[in-house]
């Protein structure tokens, strides 16, 4: 028994050492955004079941974490594709280039709406980006009209806007590590801040101050960081009809019997409104492919083909069933060509 144990132990050790000399990989490795994850995984699964290739492995690391791993180098130990709920940054492209990655293919797959929702038991809210800015920013323009900022004094929605109900401001949302939070501050808070002339002027004169005002969320308990788990937010909204929650459209889509999306600037977060761009809080979803890996790892070309096929990302495709908002036919055509001909991103476009 002891001998067997010893042998097994030695065997495992040798195996471990054997793999130090990295062997080739026969499956695609994907990392990146947790927002793109539900869509990429469906494509990966379909790809794995309908082709002779293995199912790609997908890690949900967040957009930033994904770009970091993706940009660390060329070789089987590094991922082939990274998902992202924002465009790659110039600094990330430069870092990748420093590690020998010169050609990156950028593919947009569609859009995602960010919704501000509450329980069906409560009344539907009709919000504007300005209301949301005043409700959630740490410091807001002085209510007396002078162009100065004061710590956020608003306790109820009614005190912000007289046509809103008399209930306390209580919003459950993602923590700062989340891509949803990044997009939310960019699309709602920045836009809301710009509705005030002196803050709008600040964007040109003192960009840093502008960002501090618009992007600092209040910390007095009105905004509650509810973690990255959107299901949890949905459950909490059900239990507390006075609270609002911030999350991706697919969670609203799956729970329409329990929660409702507030209209923003008069537009309700429904599929068509996000697709045609009239709903103001939507962002592109993308993925990036390392061109150097394309013929090293089997199946990348075929995976791109599956992802960019009409039956996947088309307006009636299976990704829309999962809550993806498709691109227009023209845009789909453009990115289909980029993906299938592997046209690399031009860093000066960023």
């Amino acid at each position: 028994m002891k001998k067997v144990l010893l042998n097994v132990w030695v065997l495992v050790f040798i195996m471990g050492v054997g793999y130090v000399h990295a062997k080739s990989r026969d499956y695609i490795s994907i990392v990146g955004s947790s927002t793109v994850y539900p869509f990429a995984t469906v494509v990966a699964e379909t790809f794995g079941k309908t082709t002779k290739f293995k199912t790609p492995k997908i890690e949900s690391t967040g957009s930033g974490g994904g770009h970091k791993l993706f940009g660390s180098g060329v070789g089987v130990q590094y991922p082939d594709i990274t998902n992202s709920s924002r465009r790659i940054k110039k600094s990330e492209v430069e870092k990748a280039a420093a590690n020998g990655i010169n050609e990156i293919v950028e593919v947009k797959i569609g859009y995602d709406g960010i919704v501000i929702a509450n329980s069906k038991k409560a009344a539907l809210m009709d919000l504007s980006v300005k209301d949301l800015f005043l409700a959630l920013a740490a410091s807001v323009p002085n209510p007396d009209g002078t162009p100065t900022v004061v710590p956020n004094p608003y306790k109820t929605w009614k005190s912000i806007n007289a046509k809103l109900p008399e209930i306390a401001v209580e919003v459950l949302g993602p923590p700062p590590t989340s891509g949803t939070r990044d997009a939310f501050v960019e699309l709602v808070m920045d836009e809301g801040g710009k509705k005030f002339d002196f803050i709008n002027a600040m964007e040109k004169t003192d960009k840093k101050q502008f960002k501090t005002i618009c992007r600092t969320i209040r910390e007095d308990g009105a905004y509650i960081e509810a973690g990255e788990n959107d299901n949890l937010i949905v459950q909490k909204l059900e239990a507390n009809p006075n609270a609002l929650g911030i999350f991706g459209f697919s969670f609203l889509d799956q729970n329409i019997d329990k929660i409702q999306g507030s209209s923003i600037d008069g537009v309700q977060p429904v599929f068509e409104a996000i697709a045609n761009g009239s709903y103001p809080v939507s962002r592109p979803l993308l993925f990036y492919v390392k061109k150097a890996h394309v013929d090293q790892i089997p199946g990348i070309r075929e995976f791109l083909k599956e992802f960019t096929s009409e039956k996947a990302w088309g307006s009636e495709g299976y990704l829309t069933d999962k809550g993806l908002i498709p691109m227009s036919a023209d845009e789909r055509k453009k990115y289909y060509d980029i993906a299938n001909n592997l046209i690399p991103l031009n860093p000066s476009d960023l």
């Binding site: 490795s29 947790s34 539900p38 293995k54």
Partner: protein, 429 residues
């Protein structure tokens, strides 16, 4: 006499004193016992609450709604020599449309077909490949229904709500009602849940992939941490001199046992992935990281077990001329083994429930294929639970609870084994 009376008085007074205080002391003893009992009852209630809420929401996942299809295995579609190229998807579609001949409109057809899971095609493919002789016949096949249908049948979706507030519209619900009347839709035992890997379709998702991953990971953990842990414990307890150096080691081991597990994940990322270049997301690396985490537990348990072997055994062995190695290998270690094994099993149970260190080494990933070896990408049970809990589809909620039930079952089995070993082989001196 006077003296005696005096003495008597004193005795009486003492007894009085004792009796006076007795009721109070009994009371306080009773109170103390009650507090202890309350603590036990409270923790049992918490545990019962946990079990009831988890099994209450999870037991339905062991059943899966299936729809019966009459499929005519058309020889013009299925060429026995080239089955892989055959249009199974079209065959499933046609068979399902045949059950609802009145549905003609393209949009309606799409809505109808969405009641079936995409797994129906794979099931038919598997069936035909296993029974090529049946081509040309009409067969009855139970195929999985879509997760929304599953939720409706299981009562998680309310049929009385207005159409706009549920994921299936009135026409779809009427179709399902019709299938129910024809007894063509039924809840059956969900074998997929125990045999499949992960999937983004709740009705096709299973825990077998994660279970295999957990098995491989724990195997590596056991094979590495048990021999190293026992050797370290034996050396420290039986051979090492007690000096400042061994004190430092002891402090460090105790310290390591209390280090948050995520730190081991970071170490694994830096050493095993970045420096040694081992494959990311593999159970090999997962096992290595978890064995680092389990080692201190095993060493501490091992040392305690060795310490509890009385010195007389050692002295007797040495007295009849055994060498120190013989004394340890033939007498002390076998006697300490039940204690060491108990510690090991408890350490392994902890490793089984761990997710944080695995996050850093890429095991928190969507993996469909069942891992076939130590270097294949794999995930483990608690990570699977985490991933499902974060999925938007409602049907994943019951899968999450069901996976927790399976994980708890494994933990109960492992911990009972530890108690059993202790009861059975424990020596009392």
């Amino acid at each position: 006499m006077n003296n005696h009376t005096n003495n008597d008085n004193v005795t009486v007074r003492t007894i009085d004193l004792v009796q006076k205080g007795l009721a109070r002391r009994y009371k306080s003893e009773k109170r103390f016992k009650m507090i202890g009992l309350c603590a036990i009852i409270f923790s049992l209630l918490c545990l019962a609450g946990l079990f009831v809420s988890i099994s209450g929401s999870g037991y339905t996942a062991f059943l899966q709604t299936k729809i019966e299809l009459d499929v005519f295995l058309d020889p013009s579609v299925l060429n026995p020599n080239n089955l892989s190229g055959a249009d199974f998807h079209g065959l499933v579609k046609r068979s399902f449309y045949n059950m609802f001949p009145e549905v003609k409109d393209r949009r309606e057809k799409k809505k109808l077909f969405s009641l079936l899971s995409s797994g129906a095609t794979y099931d038919l493919t598997d069936f035909v490949k296993a029974n090529p002789g049946k081509i040309g016949e009409t067969i009855l096949l139970w195929v999985p229904a879509d997760d929304d249908v599953d939720m409706l049948i299981k009562g998680h979706m309310n049929r009385d709500l207005p159409e706009s507030e549920r994921r299936l519209d009135d026409v779809q619900v009427s179709w399902i009602t019709r299938l129910e009347k024809q007894a063509k839709i039924e809840k059956k035992f969900n074998t997929t849940f125990f045999t499949a890997g992960d999937s983004r379709e709740p009705e096709l998702a299973g825990i077998w992939g994660a279970t295999c991953g957990s098995f491989y990971t724990l195997f590596i953990t056991l094979v590495l941490s048990f021999p190293i842990g026992v050797a370290a414990a034996v050396y420290l307890e039986e051979f090492a001199r007690k000096n400042r150096f061994t004190d430092v080691i002891e402090v460090n081991i105790n310290n390591l046992a209390a280090v948050p597990s995520i730190v081991f994940g970071l170490l694994g990322l830096a050493v095993f992935l970045n420096f040694l270049g081992l494959p990311r997301s593999s159970s090999l690396v997962g096992g290595l990281v978890l064995s680092l985490m389990t080692l201190p537990t095993i060493i501490i348990a091992g040392r305690a077990a060795l310490k509890s072997v009385p010195p007389s055994i050692r002295e007797a062995a040495l007295g009849v001329g055994a060498s120190k190695t013989q004394m340890v290998a033939h007498h002390v270690l076998p006697l300490a083994m039940p204690g060491i094994l108990t510690g090991t099993i408890i350490g392994m149970a902890r490793a089984l429930g761990e997710t944080a260190p695995l996050l850093m080494i890429g095991m928190v990933a969507f993996i469909v294929d069942i891992p076939a070896g130590f270097t294949d990408p794999s995930t483990v049970l608690p990570v699977q639970i985490f991933l499902w809990a974060d999925s938007p589809e409602r049907a994943f909620m019951e899968k999450t609870s069901a996976a927790i039930m399976v994980l708890l079952l494994f933990l109960v089995v492992m911990n009972s084994a530890a108690v059993f070993l202790r009861k059975k082989y424990e020596q009392r001196w």
